[in-house]
Symmetry: C2
């Protein structure tokens, strides 16, 4: 496995490679990330190259967020990548990625301002911009992102389609612990009792999914399911930001004509349990 | 020469080409455009491929602008490209480039709102977005733009650098008639007497350049040169929008500390002569 720090070294290494699978990350890798590298390898095969980038992107952190505290574990991350058969880890420093103040950005539509975007203004613009830059450096044929960050997946998948990037996007199913908790760096901040409670988030989403599929499927019924889920979690000590049923493509609320007009939905959840804020989601097809 | 209309046919044709020179245009080609294709050929050589795109991009026209009236002369354009040795003309229709409403855009910084951007709100966002899409379709190693549209050149060159596109940008000198008038589709709208007067715009810029190089080079002196040039053109029947000395990189006004702190400048002009609005510019190094 090669560890590369500069854009010019990266371009030189990848210049003659016809088939590149790319997994952009902010490091602090866990089994969920490693699963993404395996999916990339599955697409490009042994003759292809799997590249993981590790870069904590200041552009996607708000001024009051934890950019400086974000865990940097490059040595461990490289060892995990080596064991997983990754070919190249690209770990630029901030000056390499932003040698001058970043003035050109990718501007996503309304999806950037809702849900996680409402909590983190500017976050998805920052994500889209850095991923565009990384795409142009790596020039992958395939890029893999985890559906754990569902809104990020949609922003980036729509960006690739609308800006005609020649990249096949793989949106990978969330890797979960045996009890159903979605893997996340933040799970490490849960106390022992919170860790036992944490899978309740996914169980809540499953319950909404079952009730939604059983019907009724109108605006009032959906609002009731959402409100009930929030109340249930609150009664168990959670502080939910949102539990909401959305259209899968743009994450706007579904439209209704008689029943739900959109059949491809996703239930999105963000809720604090003690210190950490946990995200999860569940796709629903009606 | 091949005429290609669809993105998928274009990708298939260019898939195995290692060296692609690209000239994006809105068609209605004149000798200035053909010069750009020659520069592209010079860079990629006979083993490379020269691609010209012809697409009148609605996104860069304001609601009150002449999108519908913009001349479409595809047959003539193709013949000119064939004679110039262009390999591929890519002429998509609007649905091919915008199969769904364009929601993701490239957002340039302040440069998009000044000068031509002040007259045409949203214009440079539209230009940057369509050029990014075309770049991702063609995947050129070299792209050529004419300095006649100086602000466009700067917006796109800065975009390429800041978003790390793997493209060498060639900003080509303006092709002029023997009397100095910059070639432009709009020159055809000049009356015979206006055509005789039109080279005065370039002569005015040359006069500013000489006086600027002779000095003094402070804010007051530059403002005086600009005001004098505007008054002179007005007295000859022109309606100038701006005649202004700017920094070359971002087209903001130069900074001063004692003299001019920025040594790479450009004088930009936009002025109406009868119906047509003429643009010209002249680089100055102090």
């Amino acid at each position: 496995m090669e560890l590369i720090h500069s854009v010019s070294d990266l371009r030189a290494r990848l210049k003659a490679e016809p088939d590149i699978g790319f997994v952009p990350t902010m490091g602090n890798l866990h089994a969920g990330h490693i699963d993404l590298t395996r999916l990339a390898r599955g697409r490009v095969g042994q003759s292809g190259v799997v590249v993981v980038s590790i870069f904590v992107n200041r552009l996607q952190f708000g001024p009051s967020e934890d950019f400086d505290q974000y865990p940097r574990t490059l040595k461990d991350d490289c060892e995990k990548c080596r064991q997983a058969g990754v070919d190249v880890v690209f770990a630029p420093d901030e000056h390499e990625l932003y040698p001058e103040p970043q003035q050109y950005s990718i501007e996503p539509p309304e999806i950037q301002h809702i849900l996680e975007g409402a909590v983190r203004p500017g976050h998805f613009r920052g994500v889209a911009t850095v991923v565009m830059k990384l795409f142009n450096m790596v020039q992958p044929s395939v890029a893999v992102f985890g559906k754990k960050d569902y809104q990020q997946c949609r922003v980036l998948d729509n960006m690739v389609r609308q800006l005609n990037l020649p990249i096949q996007m793989i949106l990978a199913d969330t890797v979960r612990a045996k009890d159903g908790l979605a893997l996340s760096s933040r799970n490490g901040f849960l106390s022992a009792s919170e860790r036992l409670e944490a899978p309740q988030l996914q169980r809540t989403l499953s319950a909404i999914k079952s009730q939604l599929q059983a019907g009724p499927q109108n605006a009032g019924a959906i609002a009731k399911l959402e409100a009930q889920a929030i109340a249930d979690l609150q009664s168990r000590g959670w502080q939910p930001d949102y539990i909401t049923v959305r259209r899968r493509l743009d994450l706007l609320p579904p439209t209704f004509s008689g029943g739900v007009a959109d059949k491809s939905l996703v239930i999105l959840a963000a809720a604090r349990l003690g210190m950490p804020r946990l995200l999860d989601n569940l796709e629903v097809s009606l």
